[in-house]
């Protein structure tokens, strides 16, 4: 079946460095992607999204890049802070079916 997956289960970065979290998706018909952050004991929280007619979108300290040619998404976090420590998920939204399909998640650990 269709899936959205992540390459690395755990990423360790030093405080102040930039983080890059990657995601591969397989459904070429996907037209909307979302990054979520999940802290311990909490539900997924929206970070940033991107439509397939864009290849880059920036938020506050976060940037999402979309490469439709290779079906790849990345989330860049600038100047990573301890509060960024969490599990990050990419998700593909199928608006017609009204459901999100999540990737497997990457745990980001920020070291001091």
């Amino acid at each position: 079946g269709e899936s959205v997956g992540l390459h690395l289960p755990t990423l360790s970065v030093q405080e102040g460095d930039n983080s890059i979290i990657n995601c591969a998706y397989s459904n070429s018909a996907s037209d909307y992607f979302i990054w979520y952050k999940q802290e311990s004991g909490k539900g997924p929280q929206f970070i940033i999204d991107i439509r397939s007619n864009m290849d880059k979108r920036q938020g506050q300290r976060v940037t999402v890049l979309l490469n439709k040619t290779v079906k790849h998404l990345s989330l860049q976090i600038a100047a990573t802070q301890p509060g960024d420590s969490a599990v990050y998920f990419c998700a593909e939204n199928d608006d017609a079916a009204s459901k999100l399909t999540f990737g497997t998640g990457t745990r980001l650990q920020v070291t001091l």
Binding site: I34, K42, P44, K99, T104
Partner: protein, 114 residues
């Protein structure tokens, strides 16, 4: 006020029991969901309801029965609980058809079956 609230936050029960998890959203959304997160953090959709009508049932055993009394509530009832049902269950809501940034999740219910 919490936008999507679930109760209880923790639930420990014995195999074979029947239990319910409740969810309420105050965002005015018309679509609600249940997701299951396993021990490896994988999130998978179980059900979605739009205006009280079931629109997605992702091959979930029929021991799981969602009920939506109105569009602000989506409860999950589980019969004859099994060890494999242990997981964290998340409720979410969105406004159907908009997609963008519209999914809001509750804080989860950790179900442990012993």
């Amino acid at each position: 006020d919490t936008a999507v609230s679930q109760t209880p936050k923790y639930l420990v029960t014995q195999m074979g029991n029947d239990k319910s998890i409740k969810c309420e959203q105050n965002l005015g959304h018309d679509t609600m969901y249940w997701y299951k997160q396993d021990s490896k953090k994988f999130l998978k959709i179980m059900f979605s309801y739009n205006n009280k009508e079931l629109i997605i049932n992702e091959t979930v055993p029929n021991r799981f029965s969602p009920k939506s009394p109105d569009k602000a509530h989506l409860n999950l009832h589980i019969n004859s609980l099994e060890l494999g049902d242990s997981a964290v269950y998340f409720c979410a809501s969105s406004q159907f058809g908009t997609g963008e940034a519209g999914y809001t999740f509750g804080s989860g219910t950790r179900l442990t079956v012993v």
